[in-house]
């Protein structure tokens, strides 16, 4: 039985089943949880993430938070008092395992044969002389200078170490409340992962609340402009809403969480899922206007039998492209691939069954011609012009594209992968301002930790740690290196006079080291020393504080560590959030390559199957290669870095962009089969389906352009790049592909058409 008849016969079942499915999917929506933790986006099998877990097990899972106070001179009494008040108030909170600022800094030295331990700030200096005296003392103290007070004395740092027992929002609220409790004129900026997660969490919610309704309103408007008929708006619009509900419901149903990338999901659904329903409305309006005697049931039957296969193929190409994300390394990217893949499939099924089923129950409306379908419209003029250029100067077209390709691709030389999560928030955000200050005036905001196995009291091991410190501190990006060796060496300067053999040295015997450690434990918090060595003294931790703007700078430190380790790599575990961050961004490249390869292979296979020719697969993939490489090149030229969001655009644009090429190739083949020559076929193709392709492409671009209003700069960059990428796919399909066809006259286009080849019909109306 014909599909169209089946749909009409079972229309009530189809409508009820669709509505029931959507209603059921509303229930889990309230259970969607936002996960702004970027580290969790990486699979737990990733090297540095695993190392971090190993180190955390031994040394705890604390997170640093930096509070930066900016003043013309941080040694002025008011700023000093504020630092003291804040440090004291924060150190009383159990959530902070350690609070370190100039107020807590001690001066450990040897004076007149005594070990002297005093706070650097014994009292807050009130006179200029006292202030200058303190300044010179701070400059001599490596536990304070450039660590908690900047080199130019404009910035003071309060370092907090959170034990992760408080939720990010509550923690940041507590910090802000404490800061407000001690007001002052100093500008305060904060940085640290809990802050980033809290901000990202708020911004993800804000984006969803603003972008989703805006996207829907924009789509509603676009549908109204296109069809000027309430059913023309509501039917495709319901497909969009239904597919968003189903798509989003899958997230909690699969026990996943909504990531930062997840903001793209509903917007993608708005941009993509309306297309399929639109074809049916357009066809209905066309038949209603041109064949007024047809009943509604007949219109639906005709529309279904006419559109079923081409709409299905359109949907399948989009699904295949987006499923490329399943091969991605980032967990949320894979999840997005699955969720949107199912969402688009649902949109496709609803468009193919629910929309005609509902239409068959409606009364016929007034005949309605599409107001934008005039032959003197904007798209027609453009397409006519491009048709002329393509047909008369195909070589020039190919050369122009090649030059553009070459120039754009040159940008790949300066193409950068982001080394950290700084790009998640705007450049001027206090989070990034604090990072910039830490990088410029302190040792840096990034941390690498190395856990060494072995007897921590063994002088050999301590000398090794000491060597690491000396060698690493020579590197331009490294601010400070601290370990048990730093502490022992420091103690040796207090326990020995400067002319003693043991002064500023790692002691020669194990017993001496044990006694130094015992003395330190006796006088401090027992857990203090455990930031350097574990309880059993079998594992030691070395911490490198550094700054880096490029992945290559991080790699140079890792290479140095590799060289220092020599053949003893097995006895050390290298971790630290900055490396997880680096790994995430590197995995973005690998993940993107995987999904690109998957998408290309799948699309080439699909094109080869559709056109029964491998050459078709190659020619059809050309616009995708062109668009993807040019987009990356443009990213290089514009200084847009590849990050966790921008890395998704290639598979998405491939999935959407291939549609244009398939339609163009199919129509040229059909025109050739009708007896036209290549030039005429191209002109006819552009004049007929060209407009439809343009409207389709611009609707998708418009949908994605809502993302320009996102709070995340990386999503805004994604919006720009996906629009550029889709535009390039469109231009390639409309200009480059016809020019190549004219020049190469590929055999697959001359094959005879099968009777059921209907894809060109999509935009014929």
């Amino acid at each position: 039985m014909e599909k169209s008849l089946l749909i009409i016969r079972y229309r009530w079942w189809i409508i009820i089943a669709t509505l029931l499915c959507v209603t059921v999917c509303i229930i889990p929506l309230s259970k969607i949880h936002i996960n702004p933790d970027l580290e969790s986006y990486l699979p737990s099998t990733m090297h540095y993430r695993q190392n971090n877990m190993i180190i955390s097990k031994i040394f705890g899972n604390e997170e640093p938070i930096l509070i930066v106070l900016e003043s013309s001179d941080v040694l002025n009494p008011l700023t000093m008092k504020r630092v003291e008040n804040l440090s004291q108030a924060l150190s009383r909170m159990t959530v902070f395992k350690r609070v370190y600022s100039i107020s807590q800094t001690k001066n450990i030295s040897s004076e007149n044969g005594s070990m002297v331990v005093n706070p650097v700030v014994k009292y807050i200096p009130q006179t200029t002389i006292e202030r200058e005296k303190l300044r010179s003392e701070i400059k001599k103290n490596d536990l304070a200078y450039k660590l908690v007070v900047s080199d130019d004395f404009h910035y003071a740092l309060i370092m907090l170490s959170s034990n992760k027992t408080m939720a990010d929002a509550e923690l940041m609220k507590t910090i802000r409340k404490t800061v407000d409790k001690f007001p002052g004129t100093e500008k305060i900026t904060i940085t640290g992962q809990p802050y980033l997660r809290d901000e990202a969490n708020q911004k993800i919610s804000r984006d969803l609340i603003i972008l989703l309704p805006l996207g829907l309103a924009l789509m509603f408007l676009l549908l109204w402009i296109s069809f000027r008929e309430i059913r023309g708006v509501l039917l495709p619009f319901s497909v969009v809403v239904f597919s968003i509900i189903v798509c989003m419901a899958l997230i909690p149903l699969f026990k996943w969480e909504l990531s930062l990338i997840g903001v793209l999901i509903p917007i993608m659904m708005i941009a993509i899922s309306n297309n399929y329903g639109v074809y049916f409305v357009a066809r209905y309006q066309d038949l209603n206007a041109n064949e007024p005697d047809l009943t509604m049931s007949e219109i639906v039957q005709k529309s279904v039998s006419y559109l079923f296969t081409p709409v299905l193929l359109c949907g399948l190409t989009a699904i295949i492209g987006i499923l490329g994300l399943v091969a991605h390394l980032l967990v949320p990217a894979r999840q997005m691939g699955i969720v949107t893949g199912i969402g688009i499939s649902f949109a496709l099924v609803v468009s193919l069954m629910f929309v005609p089923a509902v239409m068959s129950l409606m009364k016929k409306g007034k005949p309605h011609t599409n107001p934008s379908a005039k032959s003197n419209g904007f798209f027609y003029s453009i397409l006519r012009g491009s048709g002329n250029v393509v047909t008369y100067h195909p070589k020039a077209v190919v050369v122009t594209f090649s030059i553009f390709f070459a120039l754009s691709s040159l940008g790949l030389v300066i193409f950068k992968v982001t080394p950290d999560s700084k790009s998640v928030l705007p450049k001027k955000h206090p989070f990034n301002q604090a990072i910039d200050i830490a990088d410029k005036h302190f040792g840096g905001n990034k941390i690498i930790t190395i856990m060494f196995e072995g007897d921590a009291k063994d002088p050999k091991l301590l000398r090794k740690l000491d060597l690491y410190e000396t060698e690493l501190e020579k590197m331009p990006n490294v601010g400070s290196v601290t370990s048990l060796a730093t502490l022992i060496r420091k103690m040796s300067t207090a326990l020995n006079d400067s002319n003693d053999a043991g002064f500023n040295k790692i002691p020669e015997s194990r017993d001496a080291i044990a006694q130094y450690i015992e003395l330190y434990s006796m006088n401090g918090n027992p857990e203090d020393i455990e930031q350097f060595v574990n309880f059993n003294y079998t594992k030691s931790l070395l911490t490198i504080q550094y700054h880096a703007d490029k992945i290559s700078e991080i790699n140079s430190i890792l290479n140095r560590l590799d060289a220092l380790a020599g053949n003893n790599k097995a006895s050390q575990v290298i971790g630290g959030y900055s490396l997880v961050d680096k790994e995430m961004n590197e995995s973005v490249v690998t993940g993107q390559n995987y999904s690109l390869l998957f998408a290309f292979a799948a699309i080439m296979l699909l094109l080869s199957v559709i056109f029964r020719s491998f050459i078709a697969g190659i020619i059809g993939s050309l616009p995708l290669v062109f668009a993807v490489l040019c987009t990356f090149g443009i990213m290089g030229w514009l200084g847009i870095e590849l990050n966790i969001v921008t890395a998704l655009l290639s598979s998405i644009s491939i999935g959407l962009g291939v549609d244009f090429t398939i339609q163009i190739l199919w129509r040229i083949r059909w025109e050739l089969a009708q007896g036209s020559n290549y030039i005429q076929s191209v002109i006819n193709t552009l004049n007929t389906i060209g407009r439809g392709i343009c409207i389709n492409a611009f609707a998708v671009m418009l949908g994605f352009s809502v993302l320009f209003l996102s709070s995340f700069p990386l999503i805004q960059s994604f919006a720009l790049l996906i629009v550029i990428s889709l535009f390039l796919c469109l231009v390639c399909a409309l200009v480059l592909i016809p020019a190549i066809c004219i020049l190469s006259k590929p055999k697959f286009l001359n094959k005879k058409l099968k009777s059921n080849s209907k894809i060109f019909k999509l935009n014929k109306s």
């Binding site: 159990t94 044969g113 070990m115 027992p526 857990e527 309880f535």
Partner: protein, 255 residues
């Protein structure tokens, strides 16, 4: 009106009476365990939440000379720290004097520090736990009576009067379980600055000494927040000290 005034007056009087009683009981408790001069050998077992442990054996001697209490602590084991010694002169009206001796350095070093270490010998006990609290620093209140380990106890709360006192002592309030008959303390709950229970100290094996005072041979401090635990076991104890003042001199540390 009259009735309400009487009730209020009675209530205030009874609160005041209870308050005095709580403070008095605490004072009596301090007095009951105030040993004064002593010599002892003890072992400290320090363990973390994962069950790893460190054991330190030390000798302690404490003796009052005029207005100075002199305390000598020496490590017996482990072997790597054996001989390490710490001498503290605790003055009534000035900051402490402290010397250390490390066998590896083979010399006595004076330690000048305006800051007192918070932890006692790297354990969960704080120095505040080991010293007598200043009665005027706290508000005392009676929380009631409770049985503890078969003994009828007063449940008394000590609350730090100011934030500075909190910082100095490392707790915001303490709840002590004090024996109604002999006034020894069996359990102390220490609350952090955020008001949450932080450390629980249990004191066992009291023995009455010749001077009529009680001395506990076993003390356990458990940090309920971190899971760390320290146990102080007294192996030998002697009330009073036979040591001469010269044994408490810095030069004697090397011997």
């Amino acid at each position: 009106m009259k009735t309400s005034i009487i009730i209020t007056t009675l209530l205030l009087t009874s609160i005041s009476l209870f308050s005095q009683t709580a403070q008095e009981i605490s004072k009596k408790s301090m007095s009951a365990t105030d040993i004064g001069n002593m010599e002892m050998v003890s072992t400290i077992h320090i363990s973390d939440s994962k069950g790893n442990s460190r054991v330190r054996q030390i000798t302690t001697a404490s003796k009052q000379f005029n207005e100075v209490t002199k305390m000598l602590i020496k490590f017996i084991s482990p072997a790597e720290v054996r001989g390490t010694a710490l001498l503290i002169y605790d003055y009534e009206k000035q900051s402490d004097d402290m010397w250390i001796y490390m066998p590896a350095l083979r010399k006595v070093r004076r330690v000048v520090s305006s800051e007192k270490g918070k932890s006692f010998m790297g354990s969960e006990f704080t120095n505040a736990d080991m010293s007598k609290p200043n009665v005027n620093d706290f508000e005392y209140s009676m929380l009631g009576s409770e049985m503890y380990d078969g003994n009828s106890c007063w449940k008394i709360q000590l609350k730090c009067k100011t934030e500075a006192i909190q910082n100095e002592n490392g707790f915001s309030k303490r709840i002590s379980y004090i024996d109604k008959n002999i006034f020894v303390c069996y359990k102390v709950e220490n609350y952090g600055f955020d008001g949450r229970l932080q450390r629980i100290q249990t004191i066992r094996s009291y023995k009455k000494q010749s001077n009529g005072k009680y001395f506990a041979y076993n003390m356990v401090m458990e940090n309920v927040q971190t899971g760390r635990k320290s146990e102080l076991v007294i192996e030998k104890f002697q009330a009073g000290s036979q040591l001469s003042e010269s044994a408490f001199a810095p030069t004697a540390l090397e011997k």
